[in-house]
Subunit: 383 residues, 2 copies
């Protein structure tokens, strides 16, 4: 069985995060990804810390296994190479500011006329349509504007940023979905498509619960710290040595939790007898639970709750995450191999586990800028 | 041009969030989604607030356009219907605890032997392999354990939950990617596949920057409030009437920002002359910026910074998000139509904008429990 995207060539003009995150996934699924970089400096993230020697770990984590060729898309000779690549590619992806590709003479209308099977995917801050198409944006701008910051942070406190760059990442994931869907349709009708992903759109798309509350009640929710806004107990709690989570999503789980904590009177107490009552008395309930849990370490409570069948887990820092036995067993902490004379890096593995896709996926090293020029040109010369 | 998943039938055994979020996307891409629910109560989210009348807005936002049939998978007559559905389906998705499908006699090995073209997608807390396969999990457990909580919150403060349920949602998005990739490969080789998504795996997969920092330095990063950990100025700032974001990702943008704020001396000041220097003096710089911005409302500063080409935007609450002109222009705030006698709901639109996919996508109402039984049986009887 071959990898799902075996034989698919992706011409990757993207830089920084949303686009490279998308093409990393396409690469993990088996695509042949050729990164087309700006001569001289290449992808901005080559200069992003942290480094090993002169190589960026951030760049390596997002670009392992891709090939790199540096092309000046305003210069004749490089444009000729680029157009030969276009003729061989199945997919081209870019995350320039809208309008940039048109200025280069490679807008969707032009490309689709010349290469009718080509799939063109773009990810931008606000999309290619609407009154603000063309404005610049970064992750944090769309996290702020899309609403997630307004419901993240301490209760009553200022908005905080989601630590992971979900403004970029979720948009990159929708780009992958759109490209895969377009490839599927092309199998039937032989025609390419344009996929136009807006980072702001993608942020709204993940706000499920907040959309429902706001549209029904008219009252936008605020941040609720570590607790779920409408389920109790569903939050972090302090143990002797740090925080852990209790996620008791229904009455049966609450009863099991209380038995495990020795709080047997609580399930019959009218203040805690239903989820609605527990939500009303959430602060009192937290204190009653922590009065018990503060006495012993997290591992004790996690073992006790797991034995009782109550969803739980410790709040892990990233050093703990990277040594988590379950994640190691799932090949989710992988090595990006070194180039000769270079450094090896640690990166997240491929979370799409599927039949016929090697796991751990075979990954190449991260490319040096223009390091695969000869290989790419050679590939163009072959049938 | 038809929708990309036109003609694809998805048998959807999922409930609550990760699975239904995935099948909503597949439906938006044109798939025929048949929701198979537990008789009596159906999907748990039918009972989740907020409500209009007796209908859950939360359920409607995730399940519009799907059909519903209630089947008891332990009862002979319903199993017979289910197996006729399996014979017609392209994809079956489930988010039970691992092992549940095997107990019902519908594990992957059994299904793939009987229906070799079937694609089987599962999303679970920890995946179908590894020492903790089979343990229960909720969104918050994997947010905690996967590391995102450890880098989200106030600097020096306790971990907070990401307001959107990204533990479920990101896993659901990877499930969509895996299913689409499996459909693509099936076009070539005619064979189905199992896709096994772990919510915990998916959390690690989005931790790009924190993985790089931790693996290179050995020091796991902590929360940094609203600011980016390694880019300055890249944070929220207070205006007279609330918070807005400034995202000046490089020296050129910093110089433009300073000009727009009347802080012309700062770019040459050695304390702020490079990103590294700005990161070292981040707290001082924030005060110098806010000493200017506190005087006037957000709209003033956003207009001034946009004119200067500096990425900016206000921190919007969800009521502001749902009336944002750019999101409205992109059809990202859509109506889920009412069933006769029922209520209409507001939901997020489809962020995958692509050639040949109607936008706004034609959406049906959310199904009543078992409300499409006759239509589904009738469809089974047709060729």
């Amino acid at each position: 069985m071959t990898a799902p995207l075996d034989g698919i060539t992706v011409l990757d003009l993207t830089h920084v995060l949303a686009g490279p995150f998308a093409t990393a996934t396409l690469g993990d699924l088996g695509a042949h990804v050729i990164k087309v970089e700006r001569p001289g400096t290449g992808d901005d993230t080559r200069a992003f810390p942290p480094f090993k020697g002169e190589e960026s770990a951030y760049f390596a984590g997002l670009n392992h296994g891709k090939l790199s060729i540096a092309l000046d898309l305003k210069a004749g000779a490089d444009r000729a190479i680029f157009e030969r690549l276009l003729a061989r590619a199945d997919v081209i992806l870019e995350n320039y500011r809208p309008g940039t590709m048109e200025k280069l003479g490679y807008g969707w209308d032009t490309l689709s006329a010349r290469f009718p099977r080509l799939i063109y995917g773009a990810v931008s801050g606000f999309g290619h349509t609407g009154p603000e198409a063309g404005k610049p944006a970064y992750d944090m701008v769309v996290q702020a504007r899309g609403g997630v910051m307004s419901i993240t942070g301490e209760e009553g406190g200022p908005p905080v940023r989601v630590g992971a760059s979900i403004g970029d990442i979720v948009a990159g994931m929708y780009l992958v979905q759109g490209v895969l869907a377009a490839l599927l349709r092309r199998d039937r009708d032989g025609r390419g498509a344009k996929v136009d992903i807006s980072m702001l759109d993608a942020q709204l798309a993940i706000m499920e619960h907040a959309v429902a509350i706001t549209s029904v009640s008219g009252n936008p929710p605020g941040p609720t710290g570590a607790r779920h806004p409408t389920i109790t107990p569903f939050s972090t709690y302090r143990a002797a040595d740090g925080f852990f989570v209790i996620a008791a999503g229904n009455d049966a789980l609450f009863t099991k939790l209380c038995a495990a904590l020795g709080l047997d009177d609580l399930p019959a107490d009218p203040r805690f007898a239903s989820n609605a009552a527990r939500c009303e008395n959430v602060h009192l309930l937290k204190r009653l639970i922590e009065a018990v849990t503060l006495d012993r370490p997290r591992a004790h409570w996690i073992a006790a709750l797991e034995a009782a069948g109550v969803p739980t887990g410790q709040v892990q820092n990233m050093a703990e995450v990277l040594t988590d036995p379950q994640l190691l067993a799932r090949h989710m902490v992988t090595e990006v191999p070194a180039r000769p004379g270079g450094a090896a890096f640690t990166a997240a593995g491929n979370p799409i586990k599927m039949t016929g896709l090697a796991d751990p996926a075979p990954r190449g090293p991260a490319p040096t800028l223009d390091g695969d020029r000869a290989a790419v040109l050679d590939w163009l010369d072959r049938d």
